[in-house]
């Protein structure tokens, strides 16, 4: 199960990060189509099967795949790289994939795990760990489900360490504000 790691509210100005994401017009818009296109173009073997497995699950459950989209924002591009550096120091890990996710009201990023194109390459260098940080104030209707736990009204800046970087999760938003989460996949230093 996810483990409480600590709080970053006094270390990182998350409100500023959110503001920068909100005003950005260059966030990475992810759709099922974009995921499929990327997987077909870049993935092969088990990686390709992983992508297809998630999409098959969604289709089997009756999701309208056109309804599913979210945005990602990256350190050094959409917000200060120092945010990533500070976070890496806190969790004592080398950053491999770091991003802020944004989910609009009325949108789900349904049951899935994050397929990583470079997973095999990264694993050759050592083990992987993942953390999530609740970077916004608690917002009505903004929910993260991770493994078998529902995270709601979590204090701003709170970090949880995942049990497994491949854990299933979903973001959903039935409120009126966009949902922002900070994700950090890295290689622990110890």
């Amino acid at each position: 199960m996810p483990r409480y790691f600590g709080n970053t509210a006094d270390t990182i100005d998350w409100n500023e990060v959110i503001t920068l994401c909100q005003v950005s017009t260059t966030g990475d818009r992810n759709t099922v189509t974009s995921v499929v296109d990327r997987s077909e173009a870049e993935a092969e073997g088990s990686l390709l099967q992983s992508y297809r497995g998630i999409i098959d699950t969604w289709q089997g459950a009756g999701y309208d795949l056109n309804d599913i989209y979210w945005h990602d924002y990256y350190p050094g591009e959409h917000f200060d790289i120092e945010v990533q550096n500070k976070f890496a120091e806190l969790v004592n890990a080398q950053p491999l994939r770091v991003f802020v996710s944004e989910v609009d009201p009325g949108r789900n990023v349904p049951y899935h795990w994050d397929v990583e194109d470079k997973e095999e390459e990264w694993l050759r260098e050592g083990k992987l760990k993942r953390w999530v940080c609740f970077i916004d104030k608690p917002r009505w209707g903004s929910v993260l489900i991770l493994e078998n736990e529902c995270f709601y009204n979590v204090e701003q800046g709170t970090i949880y360490e995942w049990d497994n970087y491949r854990s299933h999760h979903a973001g959903t938003n039935m409120g009126t504000y966009k949902q922002y989460l900070f994700h950090f996949l890295g290689r622990p230093n110890d």
Partner: protein, 176 residues
Amino acid sequence: MIKNIGICDILNWDKIIEDVANTKPEYVGPSHKRGDNIPGLDEILDMWDTAGYRTVTEGGTVAWDMFIPGKQFDESIVAQWNDWYGLDCKNVWISRIWPGRFAPIHWDAHDDEANLPECKRYHTHIGKPQWGHIFIAGDQAFYNQEQGTTYEWENRKLWHAGTNCGTTPKYIWNAW
């Protein structure tokens, strides 16, 4: 204030869900629209519009199915549920939310809203716990609730919402 009032285990909820799943819902919510003369409705619709919600028929994700006693399920189930909790709820329905669909933040503005007294409301988690079945009422999120668990709300006008980011339809019993 929301209170757990126990588990109703005298009803075969799986069978009730199975029977309801084999019927056509009475209607697909939301049943009210802009311009309906219902106190409180504009505030809800304003929130939805500002946040960008749209119904499924408008190309969005807002939709839930409604099942009514005496139509899609037997009224005797309502009597048994009321007896179990010592209640006398007259307004009862089962709601269903498909994966990817939303009943966004709202309270249950009623056709006869102007003439209704304030009263308590109840909800029962009639499905077994399923990944992604999430319900919010007041400031509480309900997840992985044991089948048959019922909660009492202080007031039927409490803000609530439901969605489903899992892989199976979600069913909730509602009463006041």
